[in-house]
């Protein structure tokens, strides 16, 4: 059985400007949502505070729950139902406050819930993250993102261009720039932005075009997933950060396969080389695997998204969006970006 016919030759690269426009629109919508919401909705891991999940014997209005938890000062929190209408599970999120007695919160909450909604009310989970730990976890997430960018950039530039020494020099410059950023007290968002920009500038200056295209497509994917979280106002938790980092690693796979094919052709075809034609042919030749491999991952993530339960839902959401943009960016972002250089055709990395 075949989905993609072997001889297929779709002019993907010819339509690259439409694709760029589509990407730009998606990213801009995401960024506008980010601005409108006043930044990302950071989960309790990063912002500190309480996140409580409760289960009641029968479904009730949010206002009733709010009323019930008023005596223990949880009423100012954000209370939501989880899942469909039949389930009587709710989340309460509230920031750290002097009025909440952390030491007996579990006991107090269970008491007020049982008093109002009867026996069978349970506390499914309760997370309390103090401001210090919230800050620590933010820094850890930052460090994880930072080192992922660092290592993946070094790997990509070394791997695609066979210029390992250059990629190490790049890594060093990258660390220096970021250290300067830290010494000026730059925030998490800024540091990561600085990290990305430094990487791109060095790729540009050192003419690491495969690496640069791959990194641009990673930025593209990350922006779209982040935008999706901004639009849906879903919480960014530690698990979501883990999902985004995994995506960065995973969505690179397709790009590696496609770029390998482009270079294989560049090596094997004698005479004058038309990069646009070769790139398009390579994208078509690898199209089948790009779609199939992501398709199987997509299938398990759909299962996870619908059946995996509340706790893992946002993780699955990030992966879901990420696998789609991963395929899209391999075809419409990574390969087309190779063509942005004027001095085509590019030389192959192997020859130096």
């Amino acid at each position: 059985m075949q989905i993609i016919k072997p001889g297929i030759n779709i002019d993907f690269l010819g339509k690259r400007y439409y694709a760029f426009a589509l990407s730009a629109i998606c990213i801009i919508i995401g960024m506008v949502a980010l601005a409108v919401n006043g930044g990302l909705n950071l989960g309790v891991d990063f912002s500190g505070g309480y996140a409580i999940q409760i289960k009641l014997p029968s479904a009730h209005d949010i206002s009733e729950i709010r009323e019930a938890v008023t005596p223990i000062n949880l009423h100012e929190g954000d209370i939501q139902t989880i899942g469909g209408k039949d389930t009587a599970e709710y989340t309460i999120r509230v920031s750290q406050s002097e009025n909440i007695n952390a030491d007996t919160l579990n006991e107090d909450l269970l008491r007020v819930l049982t008093a109002k909604f009867g026996e069978g009310s349970t506390i499914e989970s309760l997370d309390m993250v103090g401001p210090k730990v919230g800050k620590d976890l933010r820094n850890k997430a930052l460090a994880a993102i930072f080192y992922s960018i660092l290592l993946i950039s070094v790997y990509i530039s070394g791997r695609f261009e066979q210029k390992w020494i250059m990629s190490i020099i790049m890594a060093v410059c990258f660390i220096i720039v970021v250290l300067i950023g830290i010494s000026f007290g730059a925030s998490m968002t800024w540091l990561i932005l600085i990290a990305f920009i430094t990487t791109l500038v060095f790729c540009w200056v050192l003419r690491l075009r495969y690496a640069m295209s791959a990194i641009l497509s990673l930025i593209h994917d990350t922006l779209i997933v982040t935008g999706a979280f901004a639009i849906t106002n879903k919480e960014i938790t530690l698990t979501v950060v883990a999902a985004i980092l995994t995506l960065i690693g995973y969505s690179l796979n397709d790009t590696i396969v496609t770029f390998d094919r482009i270079r294989e052709h560049l090596r094997n075809i004698p005479g004058k080389k038309d990069l646009a034609e070769i790139a398009n042919r390579s994208v078509n030749e690898t199209l089948s695997r790009t779609i199939l491999t992501s398709g199987t991952v997509f299938a398990v993530i759909v299962a996870l998204f619908y059946l995996g339960g509340v706790v893992i839902h946002d993780f699955a959401f990030a992966m879901l969006i990420g696998t789609i943009t991963g395929v899209y960016s391999t075809i419409f972002v990574a390969a087309p970006f190779l063509l942005l250089w004027k001095d085509n055709p590019v030389k192959t990395g192997k020859k130096g």
Binding site: G130, Y147, V257, L292, V297, V300, L304, V311
Partner: protein
């Protein structure tokens, strides 16, 4: 060639059997005696998010421990100076890490320095200006001593908490220090989290302090605090009105006896009203001190103070020998039991604060496991269906590899003693989706080679050869992120990183090498010319 194939098959067969052996304990409730003796018996450990329980991160207020240490030193120095007849003024703690005083006579400086240098080597003596009262002197604790003391305070807090938890009775608690002054506590399957928090978080600094009956407590509250005194409160709960009332006591600041001399504490019931109380036993030194205080202060009141709140202040009727005391006015039997535990386990060297608390109820954990497994079954079924429909017999071989892959991941978790968390379960599910990627890459390559007219044997050979490099490369980037997540992730995310890492490695073994053995057997040994791919 076929000989080498035999060796390869044997290696993978052994690997699979070993993996299955590692999995037996997880899926079997009762293992035979001989198994326990010779073979692995570790089950896959479940994280708190799957089995329910509580995790706490506490911060030990180490500065308080140092302040307490300095307060003790101040009292000791007073005694020593008095003994040496060195006259001083205003000897007190200065800031968190220093002591200040004024020496009245300059002639005493040398003998003071000698005394301090031999008895308090951790302090650096600084001379200040000469004022009309005398010579101002500061003693500052050295940084190395401060660091050492902070570390000791955290270690001691950990030991104390471990003792308390052991006596409270929790299965397989995990307690460790984190950063410089933090203690991480994991209590799986905990039933009563609030009680555990109270038990763990209580400083349990027990002190016996004499009530100052020469002065009036109301005068002290009005601002005329007698020197060396302090006001502490008793919280009196009236069960009839349901209200609690704070009763002030004027006490001597210096404690006559502390809880550090306690050797045993137990709960007893009052024979008259059946109210619980805690009986204490002091060691010999504590017993002597107690005997002396009670003997010298008959008809006076001695307050029993726990963490700066007064439990009771009974009148001393007679000299008490034998080193026994009781604490009344406690409340419920559970509270009395917990108080006895903390007194037996000893006081924390400094107060602790809860920085992070994560509580997962047992039903949520169970739900998460069920949902995770459902997602795994559905996701797995979709992948299996697709592979068989799309690649036929070859797809079936890939599915076989996928099953092996899942077995290897589970065996890896059990064998390395890793903890399976909910994101970890998601990682396994994700691995299932990613595992067949390798087969897709290989099969697509084989199809291409067949298309350009190669024989099946040639196509399989080239296909595997070319695709292996690509698979290795593309898995490497995922591996990089998994390792970073392991390094910087906490708890559940770490679990994800672990399963993802094991998944990637297992995948490489099964999808690339094991399927190759099967293909080689089919095309070389059985000399197949065609296969559905």
């Amino acid at each position: 060639m076929s000989n080498k194939l035999g060796v390869r098959s044997a290696i993978y067969a052994v690997l699979i059997i070993v993996s299955l052996v590692y999995l037996v304990p997880t899926f079997s409730n009762k293992l035979p005696e001989w198994w326990l003796k010779f073979l692995p018996k570790e089950k896959i450990k479940l994280g708190l998010d799957l089995q329910g329980g509580m995790q706490l991160i506490l911060e030990v207020d180490t500065i308080k421990a140092i302040e307490a240490e300095i307060e003790t030193a101040v009292e000791d120095i007073k005694d020593e100076l008095r003994n040496e007849k060195i006259r001083y003024l205003d000897l007190k703690r200065n800031g968190s890490t220093g002591i200040e005083l004024t020496l009245i006579k300059d002639e005493d400086i040398t003998s003071f320095e000698n005394l301090m240098n031999s008895n308090y080597p951790d302090y650096v003596i600084e001379h200040g200006d000469r004022t009309e009262k005398g010579r101002a002197i500061r003693m500052v604790m050295q940084q190395s001593a401060i660091d050492n003391m902070m570390k000791m305070a955290t270690d001691q807090a950990l030991e104390t908490i471990r003792n308390r938890i052991d006596q409270f009775g929790v299965n397989e608690p995990y307690i460790t220090t984190q950063a410089d002054n933090r203690v991480l506590i994991q209590l799986p399957g905990l039933k009563d989290p609030d009680r555990a928090i109270k038990l763990i978080g209580k400083t349990a600094q027990l002190e016996f302090k004499l009530v100052d009956e020469a002065n009036n407590v109301n005068d002290a509250l009005a601002g005329k605090m007698p020197a060396g005194d302090e006001v502490l409160y008793e919280i009196a709960f009236d069960p009839q009105t349901g209200k609690s009332e704070k009763i002030p006591y004027l006490l001597k600041k210096r404690s006559s006896l502390t809880g550090k001399y306690i050797t045993d504490a137990g709960v007893k019931l009052d024979s008259q009203y059946g109210e619980p109380y805690v009986s204490l036993t002091f060691d010999r030194r504590g017993a002597r001190i107690f005997e002396k205080i009670t003997g010298e202060n008959i008809q006076k009141r001695l307050a029993i103070v726990l963490d700066d709140s007064v439990y009771s202040a009974p009148v001393i009727l007679d000299r008490i020998t034998g080193g026994k005391a009781v604490i009344e006015n406690i409340g419920s039997t559970d509270e009395a039991r917990d108080l006895a535990i903390v007194l037996r386990a000893g006081a924390l060297p400094a107060p602790v604060k809860i920085l992070e608390q994560r509580l997962v109820g047992p039903s949520l954990g169970q739900d998460s496991i069920e949902q995770g497994i459902n997602a795994m079954i559905l996701g797995g079924a979709l992948v299996v269906l697709f592979m068989i429909v799309y690649y036929g017999l070859s797809g079936f071989i890939a599915v076989f590899a996928l099953v092996l892959n899942t077995i290897l991941i589970a065996a890896g978790l059990a064998g390395f003693g890793a903890t399976l968390t909910l994101p970890g379960l998601a990682g396994i599910i994700l691995s299932i989706g990613m595992a067949v990627d390798a087969n897709v890459l290989i099969y697509e390559r084989i199809r291409e080679e067949l298309r350009i007219g190669k024989t099946l044997r040639g196509a399989v050979e080239t296909g595997y050869e070319r695709a292996t490099i690509t698979i290795f490369d593309s898995n490497l980037t995922t591996l990089i992120t998994a390792v970073i997540l392991f390094q910087f992730g906490t708890g559940p995310v770490k679990g994800f990183a672990v399963t993802l890492t094991i998944g990637i490695i297992a995948n490489f073994i099964t999808a690339v090498y094991v399927t190759r053995v099967i293909f080689d057997y089919l095309v070389i040994n059985l000399n197949w010319k065609k296969i559905s791919i």
